[in-house]
């Protein structure tokens, strides 16, 4: 195993660790939601910020590791240059410091986002260009995610005090990161995985990456538009947004169809990558559906944007776990096999239950508020069981990812162990 290969695996492992933390922090916000632990809620006012930072850093780490794998696949002879090693260190420091600052509730926690963005951009730029066009799609996705992290600070520096530029820029930055950048990069990785575990040809995968990547970018724009329109859009623009509401579900349905095509032709692989990829496709599709509904005025009040964002994030997380799984199988780690289905079902069930419970809680509260005029404080007691259910779901997901993690860390890729024994 070369140093570059090891770096890729390590990035994926870092992603896994951050993801476990992110899932745990999500569970913590659910504890707060149940209202049974007010003191805990007080001592952790930024659990939501922590969860979001952990997920962002985790997903970007995983996607960076995945990009390295794609590049290595094209040029196995690649050796890390000093600049690349430096960029790698910069990323590790950023991905660890930023969640740590949130955890300690440091006042500059949100400022560290800039560091994360810059480190991601530098590392992305330094991954060598490969022949495979999938890497270009990955690079574009990573660049947009990085820019999304930098944009708010950039605008604040250029136009300080301009509330609207800041707010509108914030919506765009968010869209670039959550709705466009991360999903596009994840889709590139997903297609690379498909041609690893399935008999589909690299040419098919490359073409699929480009079509789907483009569609996902467009879908991401549509997921972002309702947020922009809130600042005062002319009627024709609102109509246009509503009419285009079919784009996100359609785009993700196309991805799901590609995934299906690859899954039915999955070869003799013993790795569970197929499962994780299928889960990713499902979560992405659900995210696209709920996101698309947001564009329609009738449904806007019923579908929380957080719902589709959460689904997208966990879709990308599933891709990442799939990549780790595939890699440890390829490099001879045995984590990919024996018993590996239990964590998969825990994560699948957990995320679906949590998301379902949260969406039901949200719908119930909206219905009560709009229909019966009951304030959210009034209906909080009624939906407490749903919030507890969401907690159960997140706990299952934490447990599942941790289980996978234990399997991975106990039996890491065999070559990795050899390298360390040398």
């Amino acid at each position: 195993m070369t140093r570059a290969e090891r770096a890729a695996v390590h990035l994926l492992a870092l992603a896994l660790a951050l993801l476990i933390g992110g899932a745990a922090a999500s569970a913590l916000t659910a504890v707060e939601r149940t209202g049974t632990a007010p003191l805990l809620a007080l001592s952790l006012p930024s659990a939501a910020g922590l969860a979001s930072t952990l997920l962002t850093c985790g997903l970007l780490s995983g996607l960076l590791g995945g990009g390295l794998l794609i590049a290595l696949d094209d040029c196995p002879a690649w050796r890390l240059s000093p600049a690349q090693i430096g960029a790698m260190r910069l990323w590790w420091a950023a991905a660890l410091a930023s969640p740590a600052a949130w955890l300690l509730d440091l006042p500059f926690a949100s400022a560290l986002t800039v560091w994360v963005g810059i480190a991601a951009l530098i590392l992305t730029a330094l991954v060598p260009s490969a022949l495979r066009r999938g890497l270009a799609v990955w690079r574009a996705g990573m660049a947009l995610a990085g820019i999304g992290l930098l944009l708010p600070a950039l605008l604040a520096a250029i136009l300080p005090g301009d509330v609207f530029t800041a707010l509108i820029g914030g919506v765009i930055a968010d869209g670039l990161r959550v709705s466009i950048g991360i999903p596009v990069a994840a889709v590139a990785l997903m297609f690379w995985l498909m041609h690893r575990f399935s008999t589909v040809t690299p040419v098919w995968a490359a073409r699929g990456t480009r079509t789907c990547g483009g569609l996902i970018a467009l879908a991401g724009a549509w997921l972002t538009l309702p947020g922009l329109a809130a600042f005062g859009a002319p009627n024709w623009m609102r109509t246009l947004i509503g009419v285009g509401g079919f784009i996100p579900p359609l785009a993700w349905a196309v991805v799901a169809a590609h995934t299906y095509a690859a899954l039915v032709r999955s070869g003799m692989t013993t790795a569970r990558t197929t499962h994780w990829t299928a889960l990713a496709a499902l979560l992405f599709l659900l995210g696209g559906l709920t996101g698309g509904l947001r564009a329609l005025p009738e449904f806007a009040a019923w579908t929380a944007p957080a719902l589709s964002n959460t689904l997208m994030m966990w879709g990308a997380a599933a891709v990442m776990i799939g990549a780790l799984n595939q890699t440890s199988a390829a490099f001879g780690g045995r984590a990919a096999r024996g018993g590996a289905l239990a964590p998969f079902w825990l994560v699948t069930g957990g995320v679906l239950i949590a998301v379902w419970a949260l969406s039901m809680a949200y719908a119930a509260q909206t219905a009560l508020a709009l229909g019966a005029g009951v304030g959210l404080a009034g209906s909080a007691g009624l939906i407490a069981p749903l919030r507890s259910l969401a907690l159960v779901g997140w706990m299952a997901a934490v447990f599942g990812v941790s289980w996978f993690g234990v399997g991975f860390w106990r039996r890491p890729p065999a070559a990795l162990i050899e390298a360390e024994q040398e």
Binding site: T29, E32, R33, A41, L42, P45, G49, S52, T53, T56, S110, T113, R133, V137, A140, P152, A153, A156, L159, P160, G161, D162, V163, F164, T165, A166, L167, I168, G170, V171, A173, D174, G175, T209, R210, G213, G214, L215, A217, L218, A221, T224, P226, L228, A229, A230, G232, A233, M237, R238, I241, R294, A304, P305, N309, Q365, L370, G375, L376, A377
Partner: protein, 233 residues
Amino acid sequence: MRSVFTSLLALALMVLIAAALIVHPRAELSAQASLGFAVWRAQGCAGCHALFDAGGGVASDLAGVTRRRTIENIRAALRDPALPPHHAGLTVSEIDDLIALFRWLDAQPLSARPTPTALAFAAAVASTGAPPTAALTPAERGRAEFSRAPGNCASCHSLAPDVVIVGPSLAGIASRAAERVPGQTAAVYLRNAILYPSDYLVPGYADLMAKNLGAALTVDQVDDLVAFLLTLE
């Protein structure tokens, strides 16, 4: 057809930029509502509440709150001792600014809710600057200080009578303070209660106040807090 991806991506980015350019000149925020943003951020409301799904996770999304509650209702919620103590300690004008903010947000069409995350939102609001505090009296500053870090007094002390969170309610403390310790005036007792909480324990309560407030708070902050507590007749 060299790259479907490049074309679609370019289209997506163009759509976003065009939308931003169309929307930007039409957007307006009253001066008071932007002060409300500053309060929202300074008071850490986003730590519990989402606003269009930005931040929060603990309590309700406050987008749409002016539709489901009357303004008087919201005012009451912001002083409700049964709700988490973060609500206590807002000044009257801070509450007005927040309500102006909620009104502005809710005047935006329901069909189009912005989706900034906690991070983007915090960064955006950060650029509007801190709320102006210079023009306030010491007691007003103290009131604001009361619910803020590093003291976080409001997380343990309610300002509503007889509501016990962790420590005793501080309603009416100005009248009680002079009688607590023989020989100590109200102001001296209050300063002592903040800086050396173990010196005198209110009967029935454990010694739970932080012992480092003397280091965590500036001299001015302690003065302001005492000035505020002295107004709680």
